[in-house]
């Protein structure tokens, strides 16, 4: 059964993109057909150039100028995975990022519908997993992504649990999402006190690792170093989700 996962966080710099791209590779190595979408429209990552790029953007799909198939890049050959891997990017041009910031609620309402249509189209064209890397925080660009996904993974850093609870109780739960949390860059001390427990499963507490911090999104750990503790945490995460 096909499903989509949005990777979200209440704050920036939690390692969402790194987790999204490594998780995508992990699913594809399992033989799943995966579509990885950079939907951080206000701060596109381009996945640090790890996958092939073409001059077509998800922005055009949300505007209704292009279809989702037209903007995806097939990275299966480069990745050498069992399953198919396709990637979609947000436009990093500053004029486009400014344009996104100016969109009104009518446009955002259409964008949500377009995202849902895209997801359905991807499922019907054979993708098993759609992973959407969203903007951090609470605004239209991020909450639209959360709203159109089946699962939400919220990534937080040690000591930043308050924001997590806000997005769980204020966004994910009202939208009736199946939600999981990942504590990334864990420094050995749990972020949650006894009173602070959140009602969603924390699927992973990934320790702070120097080489992960050093390479960040520039290295696909699950591909280049599957025995690395970070890679193992991602493989384990994948098995727990589905």
């Amino acid at each position: 059964m096909s499903f989509s996962i949005s990777i979200h966080s209440s704050k920036g710099g939690t390692g969402k993109t790194c987790i999204a791209q490594n998780l995508a590779y992990a699913y594809a190595m399992d033989g799943k057909n995966v579509c990885l979408l950079d939907l951080d429209l206000k701060s596109p990552s381009l996945f640090s150039g790890l996958f092939p790029v073409k001059d077509c953007w998800l922005n055009s799909v949300l505007e209704g100028r292009q279809e989702i198939d037209d903007v995806l890049v097939d990275a299966t050959r480069e990745m050498g995975t069992k399953g198919r891997v396709c990637v979609g990017y947000s436009n990093p041009d500053i004029a486009e990022i400014r344009e996104i910031s100016l969109k009104d609620r009518r446009w955002q309402s259409q964008a949500l519908q377009k995202l849902i249509d895209c997801k359905k189209k991807l499922f019907s064209s054979g993708f098993d997993v759609v992973i959407m890397d969203s903007s951090p925080g609470v605004d239209y660009t991020s909450v639209n992504v959360v709203a159109c996904s089946e699962y939400v993974i919220t990534v937080f850093k040690s000591g930043e649990s308050r924001g997590v609870q806000l997005v769980i109780n204020g966004i994910y739960k009202p939208l009736e999402k199946r939600c999981f949390a990942i504590e990334n860059m864990n420094n050995g001390v749990s972020s949650f006190s006894f009173e602070d427990q959140i009602p969603v499963p924390v699927l992973a507490r990934i320790p702070c690792m120097c080489d992960v911090s050093k390479y960040g999104t520039k290295k696909l750990f699950t591909c280049e170093d599957p025995a690395h503790p970070f890679s193992k945490a991602i493989f384990n995460l994948k098995d727990q989700i589905c």
């Binding site: 955002q108 309402s109 259409q110 966004i171 009736e176």
Partner: protein
Amino acid sequence: MDNKEQTDKILFLLKSIDEKLDKLLRMKHIYMADEVPEGLDVMTLLSLPDHLRTTATALIENGVSTAEDLAKITSKKRAVESSYLNQLVRMGHVRKFRKGKKVFFEIQSSL
């Protein structure tokens, strides 16, 4: 009066109120386009009361649907879904149209 009879009576009254409100809107040409948002954006969706949000969320995900289609998703009675959908229509978030004998609903298109 047992629970089922009470529920049926409530549903009957809700349906009758819905029909009267729809009739009023048609008769008096009350257009609220200037007052209500067109379409349904995600922040407005989050601000809806729980029962309407569940219905609206199901409609967004499912696309054009009948009250019966949504009742299967939300596990509520068709008449209840119909009432909620009509509330969303009056709020300007949902469009209602007839095709043959069936009444369909869809998120109001804003562009």
